[in-house]
Symmetry: C2
Subunit: 308 residues, 2 copies
Amino acid sequence: MPYPSRVKLVDVGPRDGLQNEKQTVPAAVKIELVHRLQAAGLREIEVTSFVSPKWVPQMGDNAEVMAGIERQPGVRYSVLTPNLRGFESALASRPDEIVVFGAASEAFSQRNINCSIAESIERFAPVVEAARAAGIYVRGAMSCTVGCPYEGEIAPERVAYLAGLMKGIGVQHVGVADTIGVGTPLKVQRALEATLAHFALDDVSGHFHDTYGQALANTLASLEMGVWQYDTSVAGLGGCPYAKGATGNVATEDVVYMLHGMGIDTGIDLDALIDAGQYISDFLGRPTQSRVAKALLAKREASVCDAV
Amino acid sequence: MPYPSRVKLVDVGPRDGLQNEKQTVPAAVKIELVHRLQAAGLREIEVTSFVSPKWVPQMGDNAEVMAGIERQPGVRYSVLTPNLRGFESALASRPDEIVVFGAASEAFSQRNINCSIAESIERFAPVVEAARAAGIYVRGAMSCTVGCPYEGEIAPERVAYLAGLMKGIGVQHVGVADTIGVGTPLKVQRALEATLAHFALDDVSGHFHDTYGQALANTLASLEMGVWQYDTSVAGLGGCPYAKGATGNVATEDVVYMLHGMGIDTGIDLDALIDAGQYISDFLGRPTQSRVAKALLAKREASVCDAV
């Protein structure tokens, strides 16, 4: 199969990236980050989560952030909704898309959301129904599709099982996530194949973590299967709070660099994207996790020195 | 083409990795590093360079290091020889292999070794002849095969030109190096294809830098062409001194992790390799550049805490 000529990236930085950040990020900073991402050419942004502020205080300003965004035509704004109550709160914010989630690992499901995989799907069924009735697109995030911090390797059959359950309740698109970043190219391809038993190619995306440095290789392996949609996080913000050492959403910048280098269109301006990443990294007071941003920023500084 | 079932990694850490290190690394530490690498299963190690200590003081202990290694049967020990004088000094150390080098970029050749590509090949011709007469295998390192810090992108024709010159003087094997790490999968494949016009698949290896985080994706792209030999550097030691921001040989650990995850045999024990990387990183007083080592070491520490 030839590589896709165009790839769509969903930047999950404002939500997935910031949700476990210890220091409070003001709504104004989140809004500015979203504005910079859309100005850089991102056409879908995972903005926030409508979850209880008791559990995720960082997302307590969800409605404020959604209200503060100057929406740009052609850009989709998605939010995570963990249950019907969250969905109902989200409705007033008019998201284009909601995200529900489940794990391919029973142990992870139990430890993460205190219920079995099947129970989690039962809980989400009315959310999906309500969203679709309201004309809101439903994406499902499938975590631990390659490995689990508690169970180790996850068989593709478990991924197919979860994908089938998601399809069954009306989820329209699923993301195949390597939550702890342990995946390598062939294992990721097997997880995607298992998913494609239930979802069409156009309804499947990849969500890879760079914990073990494998995310770009896994992206390349997925491109070879024709997968053309990926979740990424500007500056490599975020990770998974429940998995030891599982920092590291792959940086949007690094994926864009690879894709552009392969002649694959993303619609994204890499320089503007790097500036967006620098904006949030400066706010957080730590260096970007993007290797491309690090290398190109070092080059920019060097040019400035040369010019002086 | 199916992926190779076995891959050979050449660890270039002791030479390429350490050569630009500012603090002096004592011969005993270099020797211990080589011992740990071979104990971890490496079957070829680039040990040192027989270059003038005026230019590369770090390699001034070349003969001492070579003499101090307890050689293991089946392991090959290679050394860099920049000219006939260096080769003659190296002879007494009985290397299994010497490395000569050239750039695919004229500007890089001029700035790096003060001569044109053609002149550099003329200089190396007698070295290659002498080595082969002495029964020593000759590897050629081809730098800047994808991009150059002075010229920008390098056309595959320039790579073919250099490969042809190397073949012409009797070089037996060439490494296709992305010296500044700017390569992406399709560009790397084009550089390899250009090389394969002059060398057989078994006589070509990949040498990728991770400056832009692309090295594993580029390795995957090369594996797809059947390339089964790669230069890597334990703990991601080293980079290129002449290229701005060009730190980042790909870490051996990260490549091994990907290969093993794909069911490809390397003969390397990842845990022992991580310990070897930790040994040299501790000596240098800085964290490993390997993402796999970072992730697995964090996991080990976590397990220790759990147990307490």
